[in-house]
Amino acid sequence: MLLLMRKDYQTHVFTNTYTADVSGVCSAMYELGGMSVLHDPSGCNSTYSTHDEPRWFDGNSLMFVSGLDEMTAVMGDDTVLIRDVARAAADLKPRFITLCGASIPHIIAFDFRGVAHLIEKETGIPVLPVPTDGLKLYTKGVGMALTAWIKRFADPAVCGWDKAHTRKPGELTVNLMGVTPLDFSVNGNAEALVRTFEEAGIPVNCCMAMNNSFEQLQQVYRGAVNVVVSSAGRRPAHFMEKTTGMPKVEGLPIGPEQTEALIHAVREAFEDGVSRVTWERDPQADRWEIPEGNILVIGEEIFARSLASAINKLPETDRGGMTAYGMWPDVNEDMSEEPLIKAAKEAGMIVGDPLFRILPGSKGKPFVSMPHEAYSGRINRKDMKLFATPGFPVAEIIKNALV
């Protein structure tokens, strides 16, 4: 019994799993002209290409699995991987190579940095070691990959920063950090994000990493403020803040009020150089102690918090007197099902991916469907919402659900 109380053992009877770190790596690197190599026996690659990558059928970006087998793993024979990557790279000539891995490389202590170095030496092509383990979520993988890419290919010095990294940018421009189809699909959300800032008079320096080229992203240090639009972008933004002091603002422009709050926060961060978020801090909600009879927004953290914040900015009558709370997967421990079920049972309304409809206690409650590629994959792709815009009708969807 003690054992049962100690931990939940991550059993999922009703829920799906969010996509893993390895898919996050591949998704982040997809448009940059590289070759992603997933060190794994098999399966992670087809999961990515089938469920997590809407650009796969029509594109020709490079992502392969190493096909690690038992004997190679037991013997720790890394020469197999080095030889295989070198052969493929010789044929395909990628601009760079990203090396990530799943659980078996992790438990046999595969030396990502060392092998990356040897492949680079053999091929002459830059290799980014991204030591994922297949146990964490995509947000971590995206963040690790983007950070590794920035470290290797983006130079603060060429973007006007001195050695002490004390440049004061002359113009307010932003980088959008953590943009991948896993959170924004391919239905125009990435483009809407850029448009939102530009319509507010704030040029977008980089959209990292959709719709921008390798060269455009190399200019990432020319931005003045990093806008973290998904928690996937938190790690690279934090790295840039640490190295250059560039402030970061966390938030998404969902609906008019939340967009206004985000633009305001960005301008403030530009002025005072202090990082901030665009929602009210609530330690109780952070512990997922959500009061009964309210609106539960399930999704990626920045999305869930931003949408909850947008809902809470509506007049109380428009939201049935309820308050919205965000709930998001734990990036380190996957998402535990029990607190989610409890929260769903107690909620007055649920906003989230349609696959959450299966949660016990959610039947018969108002449910706002917000399909999320990182959760339900391609199943609901055609119903993805264009949410990253001031025009997103927050009031309308909540009112309609209440009717």
Binding site: Y9, Q10, T11, H12, V13, F14, N16, T17, Y18, T19, A20, V22, S23, D40, P41, S42, G43, C44, N45, S46, T47, Y48, S49, T50, H51, D52, W56, N60, L62, F64, V65, S66, G67, L68, D69, E70, A73, D84, V85, R87, A88, D91, L92, A102, S103, I104, I107, I108, D133, G134, L135, K136, L137, N332, E333, D334, L355, S376, G377, I379
Partner: protein, 436 residues
């Protein structure tokens, strides 16, 4: 041009194997995976115990089938590796699933993964404890461990494990009038000669894909004979021979008339019924030849391509079609499973035949397409040659023998005349499984 997408068969050795480097996963997803297979078990429930990177694919496979009620998951975290509590996790996780499910499953297939082997997890003890605590459920150890694929490929092992709950019967319980088909995703019905021949002789077949209840599936233990059509079913048959003393036989899923006659006669003798008469065979050959001829005339010089996911013996089919005047241009295969005799004959018949490895890294950058119309047998060649004129089938589609060959010809004629929305169809995971 230094072509890296395909080889000509005249330059290929019989020992060809494409599993030798980085692998590419094309968007073609019609072949069934172990999740699809597991959902065939009536009143069964699957639990996958893996890291999230492995779980994602299996859960969404199930969700796309609309069968989320047939599977649950337990995700392994860093803490489980460090604390070494994977046995506890397995036991308590399975208990929670049993307690939460609205209906008690009759069989529970628990899939452990690559990481369990490397962590030396004692899962057999866990199953024993579960079996003791929940005697009304049959617990079966299953494996999603692609790291073992060279010695213990997952699909044949799963077919074997799915039949592990069958127990030996008393001699008086055995039935002469029924047989089992093992290892088939698709029902073998009217386009399978064995089914027709046995049915005419009063022998019925049981195959898991058609069972509606678990008790119906357990009836398999009363059969005396098992038949296997695909190589992937052989392990199940061998296991049942050892445990249940059931005889077994593999029918060769090729395109050689003499083999059909030999195999059907041998199968009938195993079942203790009269083999087909020579007259029957002559009539079948006549009908089949007419169907093949009609198809060849329709296609004329149209190039034909065949992939290994559509039919079990793509080289043998290529040879059969070439012998009948078809213009077979390419095959998409990962390895050769036909005899060297077939391989050599094909090499002699069409030395310029193109051989593509579908998982090869160079195929990712292949310019998909074809000059003019190409008739594709299978989804993979349809994708790579960008053709809407294709036979949408995997794993032989339940075809066997003369009637199977005639049905294949009919499907080729239909495919030649009616284009299909290739992009939409080939991305559906598990042909015939999707709920939408």
């Amino acid at each position: 041009m230094d072509n890296k997408e395909y080889q000509l068969i005249k330059d290929v050795d019989y020992e060809y194997d494409a599993d030798i480097g980085l692998a590419y996963a094309s968007p073609v997803r019609g072949v069934w995976n172990i999740v699809h297979m597991g959902t065939l078990m009536p009143q069964g429930h699957q639990i996958y115990v893996c890291p999230v990177s492995c779980l994602r694919g299996v859960v969404l496979t199930t969700a796309e089938m609309g069968a989320m009620d047939k599977m649950s998951t337990i995700s392994i975290g860093e803490d489980n590796i460090l604390e070494g509590d994977m046995e506890e996790q397995l036991f308590l996780g399975a208990e929670r699933v049993i307690n939460e499910l609205p209906e008690r499953p009759r069989m529970m297939m628990i899939f452990t993964s690559c990481i369990h082997h490397f962590m030396a997890v004692n899962y057999r003890r866990v199953y024993k404890l579960l079996q003791e605590k929940y005697p009304d459920i049959d617990f079966v150890d299953c494996y999603m461990d692609p790291i073992m694929r060279r010695t213990r490929p997952v699909v044949p092992v799963l077919w074997r494990q799915m039949h592990r709950s069958l127990k030996m019967r008393e001699p008086e319980e055995l039935r002469d009038d029924q047989v089992n088909y093992l290892g088939n995703c698709f029902p073998h019905e009217e386009f399978c000669d064995l089914t027709n021949v046995l049915a005419e002789r009063g022998v019925r077949k049981i195959e898991i894909n058609s069972c509606r209840t678990y008790d119906e599936f357990l009836e398999e233990s009363r059969s005396k004979v098992n038949f296997v059509f695909h190589n992937t079913g052989v392990r199940a048959a061998k296991d049942l021979k050892v445990r249940l003393k059931q005889e077994w036989m593999q029918l060769r899923p090729g395109y050689t008339y003499d083999q059909y006659d030999e195999d059907l006669s041998a199968a009938c003798r195993m079942c203790g019924v009269e083999p087909p008469a020579e007259e029957w065979s002559r009539e079948q050959r006549r009908l089949t030849e007419a169907a093949v001829q009609e198809t060849a005339e329709l296609l004329g010089d149209t190039p034909v391509s065949i992939d290994y996911a559509a039919v079990d013996r793509p080289l043998e089919l290529a040879l059969f079609l070439l012998d009948h005047g078809f213009n077979v241009e390419s095959v998409f295969v990962e390895t050769f499973i036909e005899s060297q005799e077939v391989f050599d004959a094909l090499k002699a018949a069409r030395p310029e035949l193109k051989v593509y490895a579908t998982a090869g890294w160079n195929l990712r950058r292949m310019e998909r397409g074809h000059d003019g119309k190409v008739l594709c047998i299978g989804q993979k060649c349809a994708y790579f040659l960008d053709s809407d004129y294709f036979v949408n089938m995997v794993e032989n589609d339940g075809l066997y023998g003369y009637s199977g060959t005639r049905r294949l010809m009919e499907m080729i004629r239909e495919a030649y005349e009616e284009p299909k929305p290739m992009k939409e169809l080939v991305q559906v995971k598990g042909l015939g499984c999707c709920c939408s």
